[in-house]
Symmetry: C2
Subunit: 162 residues, 2 copies
DNA sequence: CCTCTCAGGTTGACTTGTCAACCAAGGAGG
DNA sequence: CCTCCTTGGTTGACAAGTCAACCTGAGAGG
């Protein structure tokens, strides 16, 4: 456990970060020019479009996206202004607004999806053999499990190692 | 080539995205609380600290970071205000400013590095077997090569597939 | 009932990144 | 030399995300 990463680790770590940066940059630009929306826009629309009645409570949407509550509030406000979603108060619980997809929003996601999916395939999956994709998934899931073990707990044990 | 990702692809894709989001969030928070700096701050300091004379031309720094020029200009201005870096005009070419690390900046990166590196190990590498880390690297590099083939070229061939 | 607490959302101020317009110095061609 | 073009940086306006403070309705305990 030295103070720095080994050359091997360094190279791995930097490749992983760069892969993500380049991929999302390319996808974001394509989505912007093709469909005039951002990746977060797309994610919101995709999730809502799969929900029953194409409607979710703010809290459910937040959990699905794993966003902060303020981020969702800001984003939904902007998307409402653009006509993609609609906000309504819920009968059961007056605190929890119901977010639903408008016809405009549904049309937008349907128009955007094919090209976006094609690009994910082209830029990401096409670069990998099935075995590599499999390995990538297993590794990513392992990291996520590891993070889940660390995040909810006290970060003291982590600080010790540093 | 359907209009949507298969379940397998979907799961892989989402895991990869989530891995990155969670990792960087955790690292950013730790870096913020431990050393009061952001990940971009850290990257700038790390690169400058390894340069000869701990100094680089703006252009070289930009290429190393792969940032936009305006992003670098803004970021350097902020870091200069905080005393981490210093800007000087170069004798050879009056356009290209030289960015150098100050003593404060050097002290900051030296103080921050051990804990940051330990966290990368703990949150990322500790979750993976050596074989998985290796697979991750190869896959990431394959995706980067694939992106390099697509980015510089005309995106028309890509649009056809969509 | 009445109050107290708290979960769930909203808002505003601030930070960071992007885009487009601009500026300034170097170098090529007449 | 003088003009023009190109490269490299800066600036300002804007979009997006985070944090902290705040508001509001639901439910528990007296």
């Amino acid at each position: 456990m030295s103070d720095w990463l080994s050359d091997d680790e360094q190279r791995t770590w930097r490749s992983v970060l760069r892969m993500h940066t380049h991929l999302t940059t390319a996808l974001a630009q394509a989505l912007k020019t093709d469909s005039d929306m951002s990746i977060p826009d797309y994610e919101v629309l995709a999730i809502l479009s799969e929900a029953p009645q194409r409607t979710l409570r703010a809290r459910e949407l937040r959990c699905a996206l794993m966003w902060e509550k303020s981020r969702l509030a800001h984003h939904i406000r902007r998307m409402e202004q653009r006509g993609y979603v609609h906000r309504a108060t819920c009968d059961d619980d007056a605190r929890a607004p119901l977010i639903s997809l408008t016809e405009t929003g549904l049309a937008a996601i349907r128009a955007a999806a094919p090209a976006h999916v094609a690009r994910v395939r082209e830029l990401f999956f096409a670069a990998l053999t099935p075995a590599q994709a499999q390995a990538m998934r297993e590794a990513a899931e392992a990291v996520l499990e590891n993070l889940a073990r660390h995040e909810p707990e006290e970060p003291d044990t982590a600080a010790d190692a540093a």
